[in-house]
């Protein structure tokens, strides 16, 4: 499948960059002419992945978040990568309502939202190395082909 376009974004793990990341990925995804609901799904999923990197991966200290987004035929692939703590028990982490920070009123619904709003969510994580969340979403809207 031909890559139509892509971007790489590096930002520090500051909470004000959560909305920046949403806007950037949405601006790229918009090139596939998604519906508003489709675009909102992507924004929400990206927000979850980036928020997790800000909150869980670096735990107060500031680190770098790398976001890669690619457009294929009618599919968006977004990767959110941190070089933070990694996830100890990934299976548990992906369960609905599970959170290691209940005291911060975290809902534990981050991964559940990513999984429901995207077609596929892959998580690659290693303790003390970091986490990569790779999400895919096909848009059903009509696509102009062969640009």
């Amino acid at each position: 499948m031909k890559k139509r376009n892509f971007l790489l974004l590096e930002i520090p793990s500051k909470s004000e960059n959560e909305s920046l990341a949403r806007v950037v990925v949405a601006a790229l995804a918009a090139q596939l002419d998604p519906t508003i609901d489709e675009l909102n799904d992507v924004k929400t999923a990206v927000s979850e992945a980036v928020t997790n990197a800000v909150i869980h991966a670096y735990d107060e200290k500031e680190g770098i978040i790398v976001i890669k987004a690619e457009l294929f035929e009618n599919e968006l692939v977004v990767e959110v990568e941190d070089r933070g703590s990694g996830i100890k028990d990934l299976e548990k982490a992906r369960e609905p309502l599970f959170t290691t920070r209940p005291q911060d009123e975290r809902s534990g619904m981050g991964f559940t939202i990513m999984e429901n709003f995207m077609d596929q969510v892959e998580v690659i994580t290693e303790e003390k190395v970091g986490t990569r969340v790779i999400m895919r979403r096909k848009f059903n809207s009509v696509i102009p082909v062969g640009e």
Partner: protein, 115 residues
């Protein structure tokens, strides 16, 4: 964020504006807590009409207030959810425990308020 007191219904109406994500959460959480403390026998109606975005961090803020208020047997209601907000709150199970209405008026005429 804009707050209105409906004294006859004993309801605090809070209109959230903008985006409720992890960045916005601390301030909105504190404002809500302060208002709920100030009017301890009032219910809370969150009008989400001008809330353009919410994610699981925002869900945490709403569920946190639900828990605080449930302990005090106070009621919390939602109204005017747009499509993105509805999808997130639905998926997160919020709509199963907090009733949501189409307008402030509808919300204020339901349940205990109607009595």
């Amino acid at each position: 964020m804009e707050a209105i007191l409906n004294r006859s219904k004993k309801c605090l109406i809070v209109r959230l504006k903008g985006e409720l994500d992890d960045h916005a959460a601390p301030k909105i959480r504190q404002n809500l807590k302060d208002m709920l403390d100030k009017y301890p026998d009032f219910s809370l109606l969150l009008n989400l009409k001008d809330l353009s975005f919410i994610d699981s961090s925002g869900v945490g803020v709403i569920l946190g207030r639900y828990r605080d208020m449930a302990q005090e047997e106070r009621e919390i209601l939602l109204c005017c959810l747009n499509s993105q907000v509805r999808r997130v709150l639905d998926l997160a199970g919020v709509l199963k425990i907090i009733p949501a209405f189409g307008s402030e008026k509808e919300a204020l005429n339901q349940g205990r308020f109607a009595q």
